[in-house]
Symmetry: C2
Subunit: 136 residues, 2 copies
Amino acid sequence: MASIATRPPVLDGEICDTRGWDAGNCPVRDVIDRISGKWSTLLMEALAKQPYRFGELRRLVPDISQRMLTQTLRDLQRDGYIDRQVFPTKPPSVEYSMTPLGRSLFEPLSKVLQWASDNHGSVKAARARYDDGDLA
Amino acid sequence: MASIATRPPVLDGEICDTRGWDAGNCPVRDVIDRISGKWSTLLMEALAKQPYRFGELRRLVPDISQRMLTQTLRDLQRDGYIDRQVFPTKPPSVEYSMTPLGRSLFEPLSKVLQWASDNHGSVKAARARYDDGDLA
DNA sequence: AGTATTAGTCTCTTTTTGAGACCAAGTCTA
DNA sequence: TAGACTTGGTCTCAAAAAGAGACTAATACT
């Protein structure tokens, strides 16, 4: 009922029906939630090029804490994107490298990274516009 | 010096030189950090299909809080990915829709989403393997 | 009068993240 | 030989972010 003025029509649940999109129980979310952290893509980008050791990654990403580096690497390893190999030296050294699964994910992911690089200007411009307060 | 056993060689800063990759001052991070939140991709995915109103999005993503919905939408709007249009009805209704910039980002992004959907099984398998504790 | 709607904001609690000390075992330096 | 430095972490504590839920104003419906 109701029909309030010129309001756009309500289209309940159409998305769900069209592609079976149940946001609450979604395999895509299960995967994406893990790689959408602040550090995941950054570390993937590094390891996509070559294997790195713990300390090297820490120097490469200067503003990550050891705690988050450890944890993010573990998460990526758990999901099968990277491999962890311990060299029994003194002190022991640990090398992280990308798995085939990781590389297969990084392929589409790198396209997003490329987009970000290409369109950084547009995004900065949009931010400036928004911050100048023209909400008209 | 040192030369500790069979340890892989240290390749300091190679990544930086090769592609000018300064993780601390990186335009890619500036863009990625915003869209890598827990809810950003989810809302983009919804709005890529059609415009939605605030309450519709809330119902569509049942486990998002109003607070985070408001904030994530504002962030996406600020970066120019979505548009916010207020209809002066009583009570007022607000419609969110994707901008051309948003669509252009969603193109590569949807590939990652597709990958997640396709490879959910492999990721779950990797997790099971890891959790079974075979760190051999 | 009472209830429901809209799109939020405000406060309070819980979770996540960041900063930094600390660890063992060995190597290098003085 | 004492002291400092290296490795890849873990532990604790403080700060920041996120979640839960109450609350708002103006109006419509019952």
